[in-house]
Symmetry: C2
Subunit: 494 residues, 2 copies
């Protein structure tokens, strides 16, 4: 038996003969990656004692350390625990042109929860679903994701652990938990199979590598990396983005557009009556936001709307009710070059609030299905799949307890014109106007279609859209305060 195993092993000589080619190919890969428009994500996972750390160290020796980073499993920091589970992974993602190697990573984190009861298994499956969506999003945006599972039979695992223990230089690496996990081999194998099945998908497949022979193992990992990279590079070069903007815009789902167009925009509200009501509701909102903070629930406000619809003013009224130390306002403009080299959601993940804090987005991730859709900054496939991605993003937030409140501020085309002219005529408002405002205005009806689709396709139960008639500023502001207040109270069960 030992003899047979011996036969399957690669000799040191054969191994060393292969090394120069493999290493040269890895260096070439790194040079090509530098100018590629995608990142590489390599995950090394596997059973105990299969040598995950060794493989990562060996790859580190073969690769140029300046082109990639290695991340190891660590306990979440308090900043990470205070945010949705995937936040800690988003923050480590490499930009285009670079590689990250994960010794373990998100799958290993999920397995380490060691689910046993039915309830725990349910949470485990929920983590796997999140992981699968996460990887699906990255892959769809062009990332090369390579997931390697290092396998060992139970017999081989025992002999590996014994070998490590018998050498004084490596004995410290064997911990009591390792033997415990060895005794539990069958159950853990079933768990990891469940994990792989749930997270295996096009663009993010699993490669199971037999880790019994360390030399074969090392070369296999390098070869998987090299061949996937080569295929991916070719595929990406074929699918260069067109960049051409759409000529005509047809709604994906007309219901949203109907909802938008049927909104009654006029409404009167006397100054005195407004101020009284506003102050009452601001007081109630202040109490609701403080109650959320005490329960360590975060609040995310999303403000979208036509240019000059009054987003800024509405945000100011809102923040009057919140302690300045508890909120941040994030004005969303063009992405920085650092942001551009990441997945489009990365820059929003960056600013997700800590538990109990408030973030107000002045424009948001919905730019993907509005300006990026209409100006051709996103390809057809990109903005079409974005609706699902945005729903997933908000679902992750709300599942973690974040309260997501979304407003579309709606005004008529005539009202916009009036406000543009007023801005141009008023010294201290003139800075608000740019030629982009006039350009966007000319595309009003295309925007209507995109807004309608957005309202319809991202109007989820957990993060519904509130459509606000904003021709009358007072009415809109009061409406926003009231609606926000009610949504927070409902979320808190008040």
């Amino acid at each position: 038996m030992a003899k047979a195993a011996e036969d399957r092993r690669m000799s040191k000589k054969a191994y060393e003969a292969r090394l120069p080619d493999v290493r040269a190919a890895l260096v070439r890969m790194q040079v090509e990656l530098k100018s590629a428009n995608f990142p590489v994500i390599l995950i090394i996972a596997g059973v105990e004692a299969s040598g995950k750390g060794d493989v990562v160290n060996i790859l580190n020796g073969w690769l140029d350390p300046r082109g990639f980073e290695t991340f190891a499993l660590h306990e979440p920091t308090d900043e990470e625990r205070d945010r949705p589970p995937m936040w800690r992974y988003w923050r480590t993602l490499p930009p285009a042109g670079r590689m990250a190697i994960y010794a373990g990573g998100w799958h290993t984190d999920a397995l380490n929860d060691d689910p046993r009861s039915a309830r725990e298994l349910e949470l485990f499956d929920a983590s796997l679903r999140r992981i699968s969506l996460f990887e699906g999003q990255l892959a769809a945006a062009g990332a090369l994701i390579i997931k390697v599972w290092l396998n060992l039979s139970k017999v081989a695992q025992r002999s590996r652990l014994r070998t490590l223990e018998s050498d004084p230089r490596t004995a410290w690496r064997v911990k009591p938990e390792d033997w415990k996990s060895h005794r539990d081999y069958e159950r853990l194998t079933r768990l990891s199979e469940r994990m792989r099945a749930a997270t295996h998908q096009p663009g993010a497949p699993w490669y199971v590598v037999n880790a019994e022979d360390t030399r074969t193992r090392n070369l296999s990992v390098a070869e998987i990396l090299l061949s996937r990279f080569r295929l991916h590079l070719k595929a990406q070069q074929r699918t260069r983005r067109s960049g051409a903007a759409l000529k005509r815009t047809a709604p994906l789902r007309p219901a949203g557009l109907r909802r938008l167009l049927s909104l009654s925009l006029e409404s009167k509200l006397a100054q005195a009556s407004y101020e009284k009501k506003r102050d009452k509701w601001l007081g109630r909102l202040n109490a609701a936001v403080r109650a959320a903070g005490q329960e360590r629930r975060s609040i995310v406000w999303v403000f979208e709307g036509w240019d000059a619809a009054g987003k800024g003013g509405a945000i100011r009224r809102l923040t009057d009710a919140i302690d300045a130390r508890d909120f941040r306002v994030i004005p969303v403009a063009k992405p920085t070059d650092e942001e551009k080299s990441h997945h489009y959601l990365w820059r929003f993940w960056r600013h997700v609030p800590r538990a109990g804090m408030v973030t107000i987005y002045d424009r948001s991730w919905y730019g993907r299905v509005l300006v990026e859709r209409l100006e051709g900054f996103a390809t057809d496939a990109e903005w079409r799949r974005a609706y699902r991605e945005l729903n997933e993003f908000e679902r992750e937030l709300t599942e973690h307890g974040v309260i997501v409140i979304k407003f579309w501020l709606h005004i008529s085309k005539e009202e916009q014109l009036k406000r543009f002219r007023d801005r141009e005529a008023t010294t201290y408002k003139r800075h608000k106007m740019g030629h982009e405002d006039w350009r966007n205005r000319r595309k009003w009806s295309s925007y209507e279609v995109a807004v309608g689709d957005m309202l319809s396709l991202t109007n989820s139960r957990f993060a519904p859209w509130h459509l606000v008639a904003a021709n009358t500023k007072r009415h809109a502001r009061l409406e926003i305060i009231k609606t926000s207040c009610r949504q927070i109270e409902t979320a808190l069960g008040l």
Copy 2:
């Protein structure tokens, strides 16, 4: 007495008459700030019950919330505790064109340590020194720093606390500590005076505002902000950077250049003898790095040197001895646009390792006194003061226990030519060559002067320069491993 105080108070009517002008001026300021090339840092500190939070909230109501952020004092997170004390402040700094308001901030943190013993006071003074250097650096780079201290007499403090307690809506704001600090009024006043004296400097002065009358207090803070902004904007417009590169380069301190030129570059080392020694020292280095990690000491390596001096290869040999999960290599190239809108040290602060981890910088902050000096990217004043700033930066790291190991890899001009030609002739090395390499080479003697100054002016006791003869790669690599090993062992007292 009560009557006299009443007389000093601003009437509600007078206050409200002033508000529209102040608010309009603040909005104009924010518009102008958007296109300014500096950030605004506003710190609101003061005695208990002076209304720091109220002032911050009022400013928040007056300003457009999209142009600034508010930061409140919080307990350091574990990610912050794991790094030098100023790291948590660096990460909150606003970029050029934006403002940050600190409710409390670094001075308040230092005061909250409530130093009493001689030893504690010594640590307090050390914090104040760090703060003063920090603010001095930011101010020198053009930041507008406004520090407001809200003062209350002991009598006024007592009456404020009582008023707060007597109203059921505000009673919760008075905590037992507030009364304790009231009883300790005189000592705390002496401490805060000591703090202000130690951190008052040109570019970052303190403004003491009497907070007895809240309306006067609010207007005073706004007016200080407005007038400092106006003056600063004018001053910055006058000192537009010239951008012209220096014609001739004279050494600031010839000793460094002499040290550089007197280095003997040739040295022989047989392959067999090299490998044996290298493996011995790599083993020792591995043990030293692990020992540092166990003591939660971080290590920062800085690699500087001529183009083609072998930095990359040296880093690879070094990382062979370190577990891939414990180090990061940061290749330093052109700053991103996000980095460019901050202080030049911000992008290095970003990557400071957590306790027990290793960061290797392939090129570093020394670009400020090398390429930026020679290409005119930094003004004369900027690169001249950088030597002190770089020393301060490294001192903060080493004071926190970080081990800083700096190498200059030195080769002769002839050796560089040989290596350039070799690179151009070898397929898999060609990507390493750019026209910048040839351009830098033509400036060899200017670079020699800059390197000499750097070696001389930033060769501190806590972070010395190691000058490595690198014409022979084997020699250089071994030297780097040995020197690193010794410096770590010495730092750990091994």
